[in-house]
Subunit: 277 residues, 2 copies
C-alpha cells in the first residue's frame, strides 16, 4: 500500500480544534482535513442522514488513499461510526481504519472526577444517541453521567459571537440547567468540537471546583497510542508534515473561519460531494 495522509473529518470547522491538538502532538505526519460545510451542521440531523453523509466523506478519504480516517466530530462518531466500522468498512476497505472521538474520551474521562459524577455537553444528536453514557459505563461503571444538549452553542461559535456579551445568556443557561439537575458534578466534558472556543465564557460561569475538559488533547494522545500499537497502519501513513484543507462549500468562507479556529492561515480546496459519484 502506498503511503498517504491521515484523514481528519468534521461536518464543518469544529474538528479543527481536534486537528490542532493532533498536529501539535504529531507534527511529523501528513494530514488531509475535510469539512462537509455544504451540509453542516450535522448536530440535529437523523441517524440515517448523518450516516449517509459521513459514509460519503469517508469514501472520499479512501479515494484519496488515506489509510486512517479520524471522525473529529461527535455527531458523526455517535451516529455513523459503529455502522461504518461494522457494516461498510469490511466490504469496501478492510485494510483501512476509521476512528472516532467518543471511545478515546470515554476511556479516560472517569479519571478526572473525584465525586464520580460527570456532565456531558454536546449537540442534540450526540446527546440523544446516548453514546457517551454507553461508552463511559464500559470503562467506569461507577461514574454517573448527566448529559445535556446545548443547541445554541454551535451557531454562536460558527457566527463568531463566542466572545460577545450575547453568548453569556446561553452559556449560563445550559450550565445552570446541568448543575441544577446534578449538583454533585465536578467535571464537565465539552463533547462537541466547537465548544472549546467558548471556554473563557464557560469558566466565567462555572462554580469554583468544577473543571471543564476539552477533547483535543485526549484524542491526540489516543491517536499517538493507536499508531504505536498498530505499526501496519503507522507504516501506511505518509510523513513530512504536509497539510491540506478541503470543504464541500465556499472555500473563502472556510479559509476565514478555519484561520480563526487554527490561529494560522488556511487555504482550502473545494470538493463536490454527491451520492453515487
Amino acid at each position: 500500500m502506498a503511503q498517504a495522509p491521515i484523514g481528519v473529518f468534521d461536518s464543518g470547522y469544529g474538528g479543527l480544534t481536534v486537528f490542532k491538538s493532533i498536529r501539535a502532538l504529531l507534527p511529523g505526519y501528513d494530514y488531509i482535513y475535510l469539512g462537509d460545510n455544504g451540509r453542516a451542521p450535522y448536530g440535529n440531523r437523523s441517524f440515517e442522514t448523518v450516516h449517509q453523509y459521513t459514509l460519503e466523506c469517508v469514501e472520499w478519504f479512501f479515494r484519496m488513499g488515506c489509510p486512517l480516517v479520524i471522525l473529529a466530530c461527535n455527531t458523526a462518531s455517535a451516529k455513523a461510526l459503529r455502522t461504518i466500522q461494522q457494516r461498510e468498512l469490511p466490504l469496501i476497505a478492510p485494510e483501512k481504519r476509521v476512528l472516532g472521538v467518543i471511545r478515546p474520551t470515554a476511556e479516560v474521562i472517569g479519571n478526572y472526577t473525584r465525586t464520580k459524577s460527570i456532565g456531558i455537553l454536546g449537540t442534540k444528536g450526540t446527546i440523544n444517541s446516548g453514546s457517551y453514557e454507553l461508552e463511559i459505563r464500559k470503562f467506569f461503571p461507577e461514574v454517573r453521567v448527566h448529559a445535556l444538549a446545548c443547541p445554541m452553542w454551535v451557531p454562536i461559535v460558527e457566527y463568531g459571537e463566542y466572545k460577545s456579551p450575547g453568548a453569556d445568556y446561553f452559556v449560563q443557561q445550559y450550565l445552570e440547567m446541568l448543575l441544577t439537575s446534578a449538583p454533585d458534578i465536578d467535571t464537565i466534558l465539552l463533547a462537541c468540537t466547537h465548544y472549546p472556543l467558548l471556554m473563557d465564557k464557560i469558566m466565567k460561569y462555572l462554580p469554583t471546583g468544577i473543571q471543564a475538559i476539552s477533547q483535543g488533547e485526549i484524542v491526540a494522545e489516543s491517536l499517538e497510542d493507536y499508531l504505536y500499537r498498530h505499526p501496519e497502519i503507522e507504516a501506511a501513513v505518509s510523513k513530512g508534515g504536509k497539510i491540506s484543507f478541503h470543504t464541500t462549500d465556499d472555500t473563502a468562507d472556510f479559509d476565514k473561519h478555519g484561520s480563526l479556529f487554527l490561529d494560522t492561515k488556511v487555504k482550502s480546496e473545494f470538493v463536490q460531494m454527491r451520492t453515487g459519484i
Copy 2:
C-alpha cells in the same frame, strides 16, 4: 395536463410562515410543502450549492406533478431562482412555473416608506447576493436600500429561543447596527421567512415611527394576482384544500417545529433527496 397541488418549498421550516399566509388567503387550492431540512440551513452556503439543492427539490415537485412551485425561501430565491427560470425550466418543464419571494416583495415595498429609505434584514446569502437592492431599484429607483445580515436570528428561531431573554441581545444588536448606519430608515423588511417569529422582540427594540414588514401577506397577494393573470396555470392546480408536508430529515422533528410555526398539527412524510436519482 392533470391537475396537481401548488408546491411550496423552503430549506427548512421558515417557509411555513409564508405558506400560512398563502393558505389563509387561498384556502381552496391543494398544496405540497417540502422542507429540505436534511441540508438546511441554506443561508450561508455558496451560489453553486444553493442552486444544486434547490434544483433537486424543484425537480421533485415536478415529479409530483406540481404545475407551479413557490420558493418560499429568500436564499433560494436570491441564489437559484434566476438560473432555474432561465436555464433549466425551458429544458425540463417549459409548461411549469417557479416563482420566488423577492420579486413580489420588491414590487410593493417602496409603497411603505415615506422617507424613501428602507432597511432589509436577511441571511448572509440573501444580503450578499444584492438581489433586493437590484429588484427594488427596478420598481422604486428613488428608494435607498440598506441591507444587513442577521446570522444569529435563524438558529434562535430554529431552536425555539425566540421568546427567551437570550434573543434580546441579538435582536437589539442587529437593529442598532442597521439604524446607526442609516438613521432615516422608516421601514424594515424582514427578508427571511424565519424572522416573523421574532416580531415581538423586534417591536420591543424598534424606535417609534419605524415599521417592520413581514413577507407572508405580500407573497400571498402576489400569488392570487398571478393565478388571476395566468388562467392556464390556475386551471392546472388541483382544488379541494388538501395539504401534505414533506421533509428530507427526521419527520418527528419536522412535525414538532412545523406545528409551532403553523399553530396547528402537522404530520409529515420523509423524502430521500439525492442528486442523480
